[in-house]
Symmetry: C2
Subunit: 224 residues, 2 copies
């Protein structure tokens, strides 16, 4: 049965998935980009994102690389919150020059349908390489149904941010949650494990292993 | 210059230093004792606490053991919150049979002066083995002064709970903070990194290393 999976969610020791004072200029919050240094250093990240291919041979191929690769494996669709898709708030601007199309350039690293949770309707946006952004206004369960339909029997990946992951955790819909604990303190920002009540208690530890850069912890929900 | 050090503070992945619904029967909160399994398994813990000495040879002597031993090294006094000392709230009971003397039996594993933060005055309690419990009612800075005086040039260890560590962090008085991240979810309880505003941002990463059981992260304050 296809599953809903969270992978490589980077969290500081003080629990934040993004730094404080997020803004258009600082989409990950102050200091938040340090949460992703370990990921960017892996060969799989560079291959997935098509960056720095010249240096890919020198990139990390160890434990962190395995986790980055796993996050891209067997995935047929992605769900994300609007704030992960872009910095725009409120209604989508109309003009063709104002059409935000994500952070990832013309050929985003998804290559499958991406469902963006939003309160504001918008027509789908087809990008190069097989990525199409769909905008879902009728809630997380609808987005999940659409994503499973689009995934063609493969799993669905749940991106961020923290608030989006929390919504799915509260609804008991997350089958796998992989958190990479980064040894930094951010001092503030958006907490991952917050407003969950007892929702995380249904998850069981599947794997814990520390790499030289981060501590990987993977929880799964017992099979339905 | 003597320093104020926090060692082996066990924290769940969701950030709790104790489980939810703490009570007299459940002093670490529901599930909270699981935070300490890794510590209890070490040889140093068994030597310090004088427990299970017959099995000490079989106990862990690896990375976790090194951290437990470090937490007991060069320490001349300890400070703790009242809730770590005992379950009693409000004024101390009078009767000789009602005198709570800590969780640790007749010969507590400190062997030096221990300063307990409380709002209620009480005479010092001398135990076997060199431990004396002093009760400090005039605040954290007074307790720290008294502890440094009593430590005779050695460092002072800051015990728990989370609220006590937070008070000293907010006051900028913590020189070293070692957290052991335990790969469990508690779902609720007393958070370590909370109500700190920007207080943790003055700490710098000194060491990160994962053992098979927990991820050790040690922060230090730049020298004064």
């Amino acid at each position: 049965m296809p599953r809903l999976r969270v992978h490589n969610f980077a969290m500081s020791v003080d629990g934040y998935g993004a730094g404080p004072r997020q803004s258009v200029d600082d989409p990950l919050g102050v200091g938040g980009e340090r949460l992703h240094d370990w990921a960017v250093a892996t060969r799989s990240f560079r291959e997935i994102h098509g960056t720095d291919t010249a240096g890919a041979d020198a990139a990390d191929t160890g434990l962190d690389d395995r986790f980055i690769a796993a996050g891209d494996s067997g995935i047929g669709a992605t769900i994300m919150g609007r704030n992960m898709f872009g910095p725009i708030r409120g209604a989508w601007p109309d003009g063709p020059d104002q059409q935000w199309r994500g952070w990832w350039g013309d050929d985003p690293p998804f290559h499958h349908p991406v469902f963006v949770l939003t309160h504001h309707e918008r027509e789908p946006v087809a990008m190069a390489g097989g990525t199409t952004f769909h905008f879902v206004t009728d809630g997380i369960e609808s987005a999940l149904r659409q994503a499973f339909d689009a995934a063609g029997g493969q799993d669905v990946r749940l991106g961020g941010g923290a608030a989006t992951v929390q919504q799915y955790l509260r609804a008991g819909l997350v089958d796998e949650l992989h958190v990479a604990i980064v040894p930094i303190l951010l001092g503030g920002g958006e907490r991952l494990f917050d407003r969950l009540d007892d929702a995380a208690s249904g998850l069981e530890l599947a794997e814990y292993v520390g790499s030289p850069a981060v501590a990987h912890v993977r929880f799964t929900r017992p099979s339905r």
